[in-house]
Each structure stands twice: as structure tokens, then as C-alpha cells.
């Protein structure tokens, strides 16, 4: 349970979970929503996977992530979002033509 709290305490990881709530996404699609380095994002994925909040499937060179939240974890996520646990969320920036705006 500690790993779940740790995973949900970070706004970026919560944002990733919110994105996956809509549909399964690959790492590249998720990365488009953040202005952070890919290794950092991979570290977030690792924390979420360790907490068993996301599942991944490798197809060729692409890794597709899907949400794996139990009802309780879903409720905890909603609670964490409501009270705004952790640091402010990473700005929602889009990378375009290799330049972060």
C-alpha cells in the first residue's frame, strides 16, 4: 500500500493516470503531454508499475500502457486530486517541432 501512496503523491504520476483513464496510450503519446525528459517520465512509469497502478505491453519497439486501478485506488486518486497532494502539477505543455513552448 505504501507504494500506492508514493505513486499517487506525485502530480505528474496522477496526470499520467488521468490520461490513461481515457484510453490506452504508448509512452510517446503520454510524453506529448509533458515537458519533462523521457528518462524522468520512464522513472514515473516505473513507480506506477511497481505500485501495480498501470500495466504495460510491449509490441515491437512500442510500449503501450493501460490503467490498472482498483476501485479503492481510483477513490484514493480522486481524493489525492481533490486535496492536491504533492507539488503542483507539471505544466501541460506540448512539444512541437522539438521545441518546448
Amino acid at each position: 500500500m505504501n507504494s500506492v501512496f508514493k505513486a499517487l503523491s506525485d502530480p505528474t504520476r496522477r496526470h499520467i493516470l488521468q490520461l490513461l483513464r481515457k484510453r490506452e496510450m504508448n509512452a510517446g503519446e503520454i510524453a506529448e503531454h509533458f515537458a519533462i525528459a523521457k528518462p524522468t517520465l520512464s522513472a514515473h512509469f516505473a513507480v506506477l508499475r511497481e505500485a501495480d497502478l498501470i500495466g504495460s505491453q510491449k509490441q515491437g519497439t512500442t510500449i503501450t500502457y493501460r490503467l490498472k486501478l482498483s476501485v479503492l485506488e481510483d477513490a484514493l486518486l480522486a481524493f489525492a486530486e481533490t486535496v492536491g497532494l504533492g507539488l503542483p502539477a507539471a505544466p501541460k505543455l506540448r512539444k512541437e517541432t522539438g521545441k518546448v513552448r
Binding site: K22, E24, G55, L67, K68, L69, V71, L72, D74
Partner: protein, 214 residues
């Protein structure tokens, strides 16, 4: 979707429940009705003896349901593994809890355990429903070979999430009903809630198919 161990445990419990039901019925002066006692052993109107076959029927239904789901899975691959794990735990838990319920009904009909509050059983069943439904959204959507029953992975995942929430709310409602409602209204209320949940679940399931390209 269920392994041999879970299958035999469930089947043994079904056999035990059926044997106990037949044995209890053979002791009844009127085999069609079973004596019933409420809280603190207050005698209530007798109930149909058919109630003794509900518990084994529930286990057999879920065994058939899980087997059918695995047989109709399309290209399950790795998706089947978590379902197998879930199916085994689910079947054993359901079998144990309904066996407990059956034991409770039979012992009380014999005039034993009358001081034990029957509400305890409802609370346990509600908690079980919550625990089982809580884990449901963690499972991947299992594609069906029957096109009519299939959904795309995103809609399937949403459906499992929705089903999980419904199950948890139903379990919570059963726990609260067991704790706070008058004893004689618990059964109709719980059964109505379960029926509503099933109807909502089915409606959501098939509304999820709308606009689906496949």
C-alpha cells in the same frame, strides 16, 4: 479460467451443500418448508425448502460463467493470466461464503445458534462483494469470440471499472442494510438493489457498444 484446485474445492463444497440440504429436508415433517428464526431466535414464517439449493446453484452458476468466459475468449494471450488468478480466488471465496451461509441456515433451522445475529452473515457477504468488485477494474478486457458481446479495449476497461464501482456500492449497501434495516425488510431491499445493479450493469454494457466500429 479456473484451475483444477479451485475447481475441486468448489465442487466438493457444492457436493457437501447438496448433501446437507437433502439431509435437512429428510428430517422435516413438511419437506416443502423450512423453519426460520429471526434475531434472538424469534420464530418467523417458514421459508420454502428450495432455499437450500440456492447456495450450490450460485457456485455452479459462477463455475459455468467463468469456464464459458475462458472458452469464448478471443486471442487471450497474456490477458488470460490475471483473469485466471482472479477467477480462482473469486470461485473459492464465493464457495466458502455460500457454504457458510448454507451452514448458518441449516443450523438455525434446527434451532441451534439462535443467539448469533443473522445480520453478521449479510455484513460478511457485503464485505466480500466489495473485496471482489474492488479488484475487477485491475483486469484487462478479455475479448470475446462472440462479436455481440465484445467491446474495444478502452470501452471494455471502462465497463470493468464501472462494474467494479457498482459492485463496491452494492456491497456497501448490503453491509449498511444488514446493520441498520429492520430484519424483515432486508431480503427484499437487498434483492431489489442487486436487481437494479444487474440492470444498470447490462444497460451500461450494451450502451458501450454503440458507435463501435467492429
Amino acid at each position: 479460467m479456473i484451475n483444477r484446485k479451485a475447481f475441486w474445492i468448489a465442487l466438493a463444497l457444492v457436493a457437501a451443500m447438496l448433501a446437507a440440504a437433502v439431509w435437512r429436508i429428510s428430517l422435516l415433517p413438511d419437506w416443502t418448508h423450512l423453519p426460520r428464526y429471526g434475531v434472538n431466535g424469534v420464530a418467523m414464517s417458514p421459508v420454502s425448502s428450495a432455499i437450500l439449493f440456492v447456495a450450490p446453484g450460485v457456485v455452479l452458476f459462477f463455475m459455468a460463467r467463468l469456464t464459458w468466459r475462458a472458452r469464448t475468449a478471443r486471442n487471450p494471450g497474456e490477458s488470460l493470466q490475471p483473469w485466471k488468478k482472479y477467477g480462482n480466488v473469486f470461485l473459492v471465496l464465493i464457495s466458502v461464503i455460500v457454504t457458510l451461509a448454507q451452514t448458518f441456515i441449516i443450523t438455525r433451522s434446527l434451532g441451534l445458534l439462535l443467539t448469533m445475529n443473522p445480520r453478521v452473515l449479510l455484513v460478511i457477504m457485503g464485505l466480500l462483494s466489495m473485496a471482489i468488485s474492488n479488484a475487477l477494474p485491475k483486469l484487462p478486457w478479455l475479448h470475446s469470440r462472440i462479436a455481440f458481446l465484445d467491446l474495444d479495449p478502452d470501452k471494455g476497461a471502462r465497463f470493468l471499472r464501472y462494474k467494479g464501482w457498482l459492485g463496491v456500492f452494492l456491497g456497501l449497501a448490503v453491509v449498511l442494510s444488514g446493520l441498520f434495516l429492520p430484519f424483515n425488510v432486508i431480503s427484499p431491499v437487498v434483492l431489489s438493489m442487486a436487481a437494479v445493479v444487474v440492470i444498470i450493469g447490462v444497460a451500461y454494457r450494451f450502451s458501450g457498444r454503440r458507435g463501435q466500429p467492429q
